[in-house]
């Protein structure tokens, strides 16, 4: 952000809340010193903050007082003391911070020694063994159609792999010749077999110790990183990331000695418009990837709502309007794309797609890290026995392990539902009725296409969640009582209802599955409440779909 690019409102709020990293905070402060307009925005925000403080103070006078006098807790403290002293000796030792740290330190040292010993002993063997396991896993895995994004300095395109049944456009000749130069299988680059074949064909290769890193596409998951350095040949080194769960390759990269490179990544969702035509979609050559920078602004040109819509559509094409907190605002004649904590891979895609556009500025910042002790504190506080409904569901599904698998599948589908609901809400906020009525026919079509895609994907996912839950929950006595959808004629208000219904589903599902801290429920009504909330969401989504298709 230069001193002439106005920070987005969310940045200003984080700034006054002291939540920006030091360098970013200094950058915003310098900007504010020079910019009256943004100082005005900050004052407005401060005014709203002051109103909140005032509201909190006034609320004291209106809420009901505690029904009883506050008790003296000392008797309860004494009871806790007594239970603590009856604990075994080793447990008491571990309750002392320094002793606990000393024990933890000793364990870490032992682990470290074991890891270093293993890596010093035979790192190459470990990488080779891991690759062998990954090739074996690949052999038994069912053949499925996968979409692979291939990226070079000059091209970016998507290929379908995993089956020969799909006809697709030929790969650009320049990329094909790069694969040939590398002696690497271009037909299925993102495979352990292809990597292993390449590695076997290289003379004097050396593997770095296998590292465990975050999955670039799903930071909550982890990957093994195999990195091979070649002593001869055109490729200097290569990397393959394997999912730690099932050893499925998720990303690979070849670095050539002449500074060329090829990167291949699995696309977990269809890249364009939620459709399924991933096969052979070759895009125009893209500009060489350069370090992140704000896009150039054409002097005198001013971004319009159409430009904003176009940017939103671009983000929609690459799936960047789902899940990630990417914000698109019209500010000072430019379309500003930004956000805090957006995954680096998504940031890179956005830069690649939007940096070259005039009147578009792309700015991301990173949130402060959450300290480990705080996270642990939550888990500690949240642990509690499973509720009655959950126990019945476990019995119905055949045990704890089955329940956990079931729970993970349901929650993943529900996560997609939530991301679609938020994406819809985002569009409703940006294009209220009065703004939409001023759009050109083309812009309106673009907006409706995005809406239609989100609503249909949302309905599909809700259907998936229902088909997972209905048999199991009705088997334990759940019934459905669906409310009629709210009647409205504007899709914007219908979207609000969809979001509200999605949130209700999320809250009830979390309580039922016992995954949200502190929300295990003993309520026998919970399974019925979950099914009813899902039915309501389905009805709201159908109503919204009808309005969007008008």
């Amino acid at each position: 952000m230069s001193s002439f690019q106005h920070p987005a409102e969310d940045l200003l709020l984080r700034y006054i809340d002291g939540e920006l990293p030091g360098w970013k905070s200094r950058q915003v402060r310098r900007h504010l010193e020079a910019c009256w307009q943004c100082r005005g925005s900050v004052e407005e925000l401060q005014g709203t903050v002051a109103e909140c403080v005032r509201y909190r103070k006034q609320m004291r006078a209106y809420v009901p007082a505690p029904p009883k006098a506050w008790p003296d807790l000392s008797r309860e403290f004494a009871r806790i003391d007594a239970s603590f002293e009856s604990e075994p000796f080793w447990k008491r030792c571990l309750s002392f911070p320094m002793l606990r740290q000393a024990a933890a330190g000793a364990a870490v040292l032992a682990l470290l020694w074991a890891v270093i010993y293993q890596f010093q002993k035979a790192p190459a063997v470990e990488a080779a063994a891991l690759l062998k396991r990954a090739v074996a896993a690949e052999t038994v895995r069912p053949i499925a159609l996968r979409a692979i994004r291939i990226h070079t300095a000059s091209f970016a395109f998507t290929r379908a792999v995993g089956t020969r049944a799909v006809a697709q456009a030929p790969m650009p000749a320049a990329v094909e010749s790069l694969f040939a130069k590398a002696r690497y299988n271009a037909e299925d680059p993102l495979s352990a077999r292809s990597y292993s074949d390449w590695r076997d064909g290289v003379a004097g290769e050396r593997d770095d110790p296998v590292a465990t890193v975050a999955d670039p596409q799903a930071p909550a998951e982890s990957c093994y990183r195999i990195h091979t350095v070649a002593a001869t040949g055109d490729v200097a080194d290569a990397t393959l990331l394997l999912s730690t769960g099932d050893l499925r390759p998720v990303e690979g990269r070849l670095e050539f000695r002449d500074r060329n490179w090829i990167e291949f990544t699995e696309i977990t969702e269809p890249p364009a418009g939620g459709g399924t035509n991933t096969a052979g979609h070759v895009e125009d050559p893209v500009r060489p990837v350069v370090p992140s920078r704000p896009a150039a602004v054409v002097p005198g040109a001013t971004a319009s709502i159409s430009d904003q819509l176009e940017v939103l559509s671009e983000l929609h094409q690459i799936g960047a309007d789902l899940g990630d907190p990417v914000e698109v605002t019209l500010s000072d004649g430019k379309v500003v794309v930004g956000g805090v904590g957006v995954p680096s891979q998504v940031q890179r895609r956005i830069h690649e797609d939007l940096d070259s556009k005039p009147n578009v500025s792309v700015q991301f910042s990173e949130p402060q890290a959450l300290s480990a002790d705080r996270v642990m504190g939550t888990q500690d506080a949240a642990s509690s026995p499973a509720g009655a409904a959950q126990t019945r569901l476990e019995d119905q599904l055949g045990g704890r392990a089955e329940f956990q698998r079931f729970s993970a599948t349901v929650l993943k589908s529900n996560e997609t539902v939530m991301s679609r609901a938020y994406a819809l809400r985002n569009l409703a906020e940006k294009f209220p009725v009065e703004i939409e009525s001023g759009l050109t026919a083309n812009d309106r079509r673009m907006l409706r296409d995005m809406l239609r895609d989100h609503v249909s994907q949302l309905s599909k996912q809700v259907g998936d969640v229902q088909s997972l839950l209905v048999p199991s929950l009705t088997a334990i006595g759940a019934t459905v009582q669906a409310r009629r959808p709210a009647e409205g004629t504007a899709w914007q208000s219908s979207v609000e209802e969809v979001l509200r219904a999605s949130q209700l589903v999320e809250v009830r599902l979390s309580a039922l599955l016992g995954v949200t801290p502190g929300q295990n429920s003993t309520s026998t009504q919970l399974p019925s409440e979950v099914l009813s909330a899902l039915a309501e969401l389905r009805a709201q989504a159908d109503h919204c779909s009808a309005l969007v298709n008008q």
């Binding site: 506050w70 807790l73 008491r92 911070p97 506080a381």
Partner: protein, 182 residues
């Protein structure tokens, strides 16, 4: 090393004094119980349940400190646990009559106030309605922020990222600002 030795001796002697810890938690209880109680009402707990929950939270705090947990920011911890435990209590009370924060009833009973107080109350009511109109997550983020929690602490309580907290707060502020400007 000296400190480690002292701790070892303490474990063997089993004479860990609880007085300082009790005083600390009792002080925190006195200082924050009303705030936590109010926050629990906003979650939809009935007053008697909210009061019981407040006591439980502070007893949990005492037990955690007693176990030797390193709690750097006690207020953040208290609200986080109050939020999680409060939701659980609210789920249990679902079979009882749902609690309406009672704000409107309380407001309606203040009819004999002077004119300036009436205006003030009207303004408060208007703002309250706007707050009630926020989404659940926006409201929770806002109330926890009003209690002085930082974004990562709020995120930790609600099970969302700090950046998502920022986004919820921003949306809440946009809506509340509209009311303020009206």
């Amino acid at each position: 090393m000296l400190a480690l030795g002292i701790e070892l001796v303490t474990v063997f002697r089993l004479d860990r004094t609880a007085t300082a810890l009790q005083d600390r938690v009792a002080g925190l209880f006195e200082e924050s119980r009303e705030d936590v109680y109010r926050y629990l009402l906003t979650l939809g707990l009935r007053p008697e349940r909210a009061q019981e929950t407040v006591q439980e939270v502070f007893l949990r705090l005492y037990a955690s400190l007693k176990k030797g947990d390193d709690i750097q920011n006690a207020r953040g911890w208290i609200f986080r646990v109050a939020h999680n435990y409060g939701l659980k209590v609210r789920a249990r009370q679902a079979s009882e009559d749902p609690f309406d924060a009672g704000l409107e009833l309380q407001l309606a009973s203040h009819t004999d106030t002077p004119e300036h107080a009436l205006l003030e109350r009207e303004r408060f009511q208007q703002f309250h309605r706007a707050v009630e109109g926020l989404s659940d997550q926006q409201k929770r983020c806002l109330f926890l922020r009003m209690e002085g929690l930082r974004y990562p602490e709020i995120g930790s309580a609600l099970g969302i990222s700090a950046s998502a907290v920022g986004e919820f707060l921003r949306r809440a502020m946009v809506r509340l600002k509209k009311v303020r400007d009206e």
